[in-house]
């Protein structure tokens, strides 16, 4: 091969593949007009590529996926015949997840214990109103833990939509009762509401600032001076109404933007 022909090596392949640019083609054509050796090489390359392109893709043997799945099942227990979602979860989750879930279970148990003690010894917490306030905070803490667990499994995103609590069902929240505020439960069951808490799903992820409000009491759940608020960092605090308004303004949270955040018309007692 003449040394100048080496300049055209890649262009010859590109031409044979049909992937050459217009400028490069003109450049190559000018050379081919005067070089019989490169014309012959182009013919051989085109012939070779033609042979490759005529070959059809191989068809996989029937049932290959199913046979592979059976081999995988034989090799491990991940897809073993679990009889319930719970059984399946225990069998299949990596250890780190199980440890994390155990931690959640312990936290839930601890919260339940706190609630039980609080209900058995009311004087520890003062009046009934204070007791319900504390229990409400416990409920929100449990929900907050479940929400963080959910977010950890979903790339840091919290559940969305008016029925956000359904995403927590079973896998993240064992006791649906915690979705209700004790202060409101005291005045009878609500047929309209599954939860007494207002969840803020606008642009909320675990990456929001620690004091970003994630969920809060409906207005007047306890009294009109303030409400319990769950923050992104998992903290639950009693926040005065004036302060709460400032938080909403700070983060430009408008109830008008979130239909299910509209102020409750529920007139049940405080």
């Amino acid at each position: 091969m003449a040394s100048q022909c080496q300049l055209y090596e890649d262009l010859l392949v590109e031409e044979a593949l049909g992937e050459i640019g217009q400028k490069e083609r003109m450049f190559l054509r000018a050379h081919l007009d005067s070089c019989g050796e490169c014309r012959a090489r182009l013919a051989t390359l085109s012939d070779t590529i033609g042979v490759m392109k005529r070959e059809k893709p191989a068809q996989a043997p029937a049932g290959l996926a199913e046979r592979t799945l059976r081999r995988v099942e034989t090799a491990g227990e991940r897809f073993s015949a679990a009889t319930s979602p719970y059984h399946e979860t225990i069998l299949t989750e990596p250890r780190s997840w199980r440890v994390r879930r155990s931690l959640v279970a312990w936290m839930v148990a601890a919260s339940v214990l706190v609630m039980a003690v609080a209900s058995l010894v009311p004087e520890w917490l003062g009046s009934g109103s204070a007791r319900s306030l504390q229990t409400c905070q416990d409920h929100m803490t449990i929900i907050g833990t479940a929400l963080r667990q959910y977010a950890a499994d979903h790339n840091g995103a919290y559940p969305r939509g008016p029925e956000w609590y359904r995403a927590l069902d079973f896998d993240y929240l064992q006791r649906q009762g915690v979705l209700m505020c004790p202060a409101r439960m005291a005045v009878g069951p609500s047929s309209a509401n599954v939860t007494d808490y207002l969840f803020n799903p606008t642009h909320v992820s675990v990456n929001e600032p620690a004091d970003y409000p994630l969920m809060w009491d409906k207005n007047s759940a306890h009294d009109e001076l303030g409400r319990n608020v769950l923050f992104v960092d998992g903290r639950v605090s009693w926040v005065a109404e004036e302060e709460f308004e400032k938080i909403l303004i700070k983060y430009k949270i408008s109830e008008a933007d979130i239909p299910w955040l509209a102020p409750s018309t529920d007139t049940r007692g405080r």
Partner: protein, 193 residues
């Protein structure tokens, strides 16, 4: 409804959802088998390697990097398995050819193809093209053959091959061009012109 991504199916598999893993298997059944078949030129080996690749996916599912892409990961596993298989075969072949090489003239690279290694179906008259393609492919080193298979048989673009094999696009092009030149040379030699 939008099709679930490979990564979502893998996450479902991690949670123990058998159906998600099955969907992944079915999604790659044709594509990956095709890659393995043309890389090894052996249907039985391709089926074994397909199963082995997904066994490795299953065994290492917890090590899958969050935010990573499943397809390149799968192809990396499959390509490594195919390379191992070809190395094993080459070792076996080098033993059987040893006497011939020592006793006579040097064996040309393109002559290393053992006719018996070809799929029996290719020996049927009228399939000379397939046999020729397989022969040219077998003469290539593994890293070139992978690119050729993905380009011609899996119909992938340069960017897709780059992603699947985890190499830069420039490397994909240079490997493909080199492979085509070597195959053209082999074909010219075989045809005696």
């Amino acid at each position: 409804m939008a099709q679930r991504s490979d990564e979502e199916l893998l996450a479902g598999s991690l949670k123990g959802h058998r159906g998600d893993f099955k969907t992944l298997l079915e999604r790659y059944e044709g594509e990956l088998f095709n890659f393995l078949y043309h890389t090894t030129n052996d249907r039985q080996a391709a089926e074994d390697l397909f199963q082995e690749a997904f066994l490795q996916v299953f065994a290492n599912i917890e090590r899958f990097r969050p935010g990573g892409r499943f397809r390149p990961w799968l192809y990396t596993i499959a390509a490594n398995l195919a390379r191992d298989e070809m190395r094993r075969r080459r070792r076996r072949k080098s033993v059987s050819l040893d006497a011939e090489v020592r006793g006579g003239e040097e064996t040309a690279f393109v002559d290393m193809v053992d006719a018996q290694s070809l799929d029996p179906s290719m020996a049927v008259a009228g399939q000379e093209t397939a046999a020729m393609a397989a022969e040219m492919m077998n003469a290539l080193p593994a890293n070139l053959r992978e690119v050729v298979v993905l380009y011609f048989y899996n119909d992938m673009k340069y960017s897709e091959i780059s992603e699947a094999l985890g190499v830069p696009m420039g490397t994909v092009k240079s490997r493909l061009y080199r492979a085509i030149r070597e195959m053209a040379h082999a074909m010219k030699t075989k045809r005696g012109f």
